[in-house]
């Protein structure tokens, strides 16, 4: 059996090596695929903090992915049309600067996660799943009807946004940016999981009554996890929009929320690099099977079924022989 620590390092390293090889052999499309893996992985790493450690099965994380995407779309749109964004008395200039866009994406998604979390965390179990789904769908329909930013058709951004010192139009450079953010999120999650907060959050998932009787508030712990989670998924949304140079309501769709959960289950719930493995398999299938048939999701479904039936703990559970992250 392979030690989990090895997998934790090998998976990001593998992704990096594939991108470098693709760069050397001059296959920009493969680099784009690895970038997609990094971004979807980042989104799912975000969800994994809420779902894997906190036990919060959110079927509405597309809300944050979409908010991150639209944060990028709206700011870049106003920059490319040279029209400031007026919100009542507030006049905001658009921007093409990635760091600024990222901050806006993270803050917006964190605030949305705070609001959604406060309301959703009054419930648990199936009700939590349903209420997060409902919030996601609300934003979806809102974006469809928001004609100022393309409505159903979405919004195209002509040039990728800028990052100081980097030419983001070069695929490998943009990949590097996404990869670094993915690694930072993984480090953050690892530290979080080992910290006092992580210990308490992990216990709040397993035995909320215990957490209360030692004088801690399990709902508050979960709320903060939800906010951190939403912020990371929001950042991924901004990158995803930049990768495609396009945002549309589909970023808010519940399919995407479901897919993020699937990525986590495939990789292994609560496992650090589980979402990255899930994202890699997802993108690989989408690319190869998707080239053969429109119904490639059936292949994804088969893998998911196999994992749920035969390996508790996803791919990482299978490789390490350990069903859970703490076993």
């Amino acid at each position: 059996m392979i030690p989990e620590r090895f997998i934790t390092f090998a998976v990001p390293a593998g992704l990096f090596i594939i991108a470098i090889l693709a760069f050397w052999t001059d296959e920009p499309f493969t680099i784009t695929l690895t970038t997609r893996v990094a971004i979807l992985g980042l989104a799912a790493v975000g969800l994994n903090i809420a779902l894997g450690i906190g036990g919060l099965v959110s079927l509405g994380h597309a809300a944050f992915f979409g908010l991150g995407g639209y944060a990028m779309g709206i700011l870049a749109y106003h920059a490319q049309t040279y029209s400031p964004l007026t919100l009542g008395p507030l006049v905001i200039e658009g921007t093409k600067s990635m760091p600024v866009i990222w901050i806006v994406a993270v803050v917006t998604s964190a605030l949305a996660a705070l609001a959604i979390g406060v309301l959703s965390l009054r419930t648990s179990g199936v009700y939590f799943i349903m209420i997060t789904l409902a919030f996601g769908q609300m934003l979806y329909y809102f974006s469809v009807s928001w004609s100022a930013y393309g409505g159903e058709d979405g919004l195209s951004i002509y040039l990728r946004n800028e990052f100081p010192g980097i030419n983001t139009l070069v695929p490998i450079q943009f990949f590097g940016l996404c990869f670094v953010l993915l690694c930072l999120a993984l480090v953050l999650q690892a530290r979080l999981r080992g910290s006092s907060f992580g210990l308490a959050l992990n216990a709040a998932r397993q035995a909320p009554a215990r957490v209360e009787t030692v004088g801690l508030n399990p709902v508050r712990l979960k709320l903060l996890a939800f906010v951190i989670s939403g912020a990371i998924t929001g950042l991924a949304g901004a990158l995803y929009a930049d990768l495609n140079r396009f945002v549309s309501p589909s970023m808010f769709s519940w399919h995407l929320s479901g897919e993020l959960i699937v990525l986590i289950i495939i990789g292994g719930v609560g496992r650090l690099v589980g979402p990255v493995i899930g994202a890699a398999l997802f993108v690989a299938l989408e690319h190869w099977l998707g080239g053969l048939t429109e119904y490639w999701h059936i292949g994804l479904g088969a893998i998911l079924l196999g994992i749920v039936l035969f390996s508790r703990g996803g791919v990482i559970g299978f490789l390490t022989g350990k069903a859970g992250p703490n076993v």
Partner: protein
Amino acid sequence: MSEHLLETRGLCKSFGALKATDNVSISLKPGEIHAIIGPNGAGKSTLIAQICGGLAPDAGQILMQGRDVTSLTTQARAQAGLGRTFQVSALAMEDTVLENVLLGTLGASGHAWRFWKNASNVRDRLDQAMAALERVGLEKVCDQQTATLSHGQRRQLEVAVALTLEPSAFVMDEPMAGLGAEGTKKMTEFLDGLRDQAPILLVEHDMDAVFALADRISVLVYGQIIATGSVADIRASATVRDAYLGDPA
């Protein structure tokens, strides 16, 4: 400061037509073990849940050191010095034994909002956690996953977590349940010594343990306290024997 560390006044709780707690007034004095006994379904756990929070009484008050805590949350009562163990172990089963006790030290110190530093690298808290484990005799299994513990060890772990809170009063729901003869004997000795640290409100079915430990006993039947007194009083009481003890004790 009131003489009573913990007190209930006229506590009532109904589930539909069932009066699970019926005008219960009990108290816990410094240094004592006050045992609550009663048949299955008498309302002992329901009473504990109201005292510790989590279940709101329909009427009556709960006081800690003279202060009304009836409207406080479970967390607030824990912070005010209530150390509880559950009848059915409520532990983080996937976590190690040590992690469960560390959780107690986090709550006690209010330090759960640290996001970067490794939780088990804080010397003071680790020492405190290990000390609690040593007191209940679990130090050797500290790195074991909690799910692998025997039933008896889980009971001990429950007590160890409560110890880390350094509470001013313990509330324990059947700590001996399922311990076996040897385990019960050890737990009895342990609780005997613990009363000097903080008094214990003890719900227990094991009569030998109760008679060995209790300074006072209250008998709960159908939600009502039908008698309170010393071990000798309760043993001698005809009412209690009829209602509960059944065969002559």
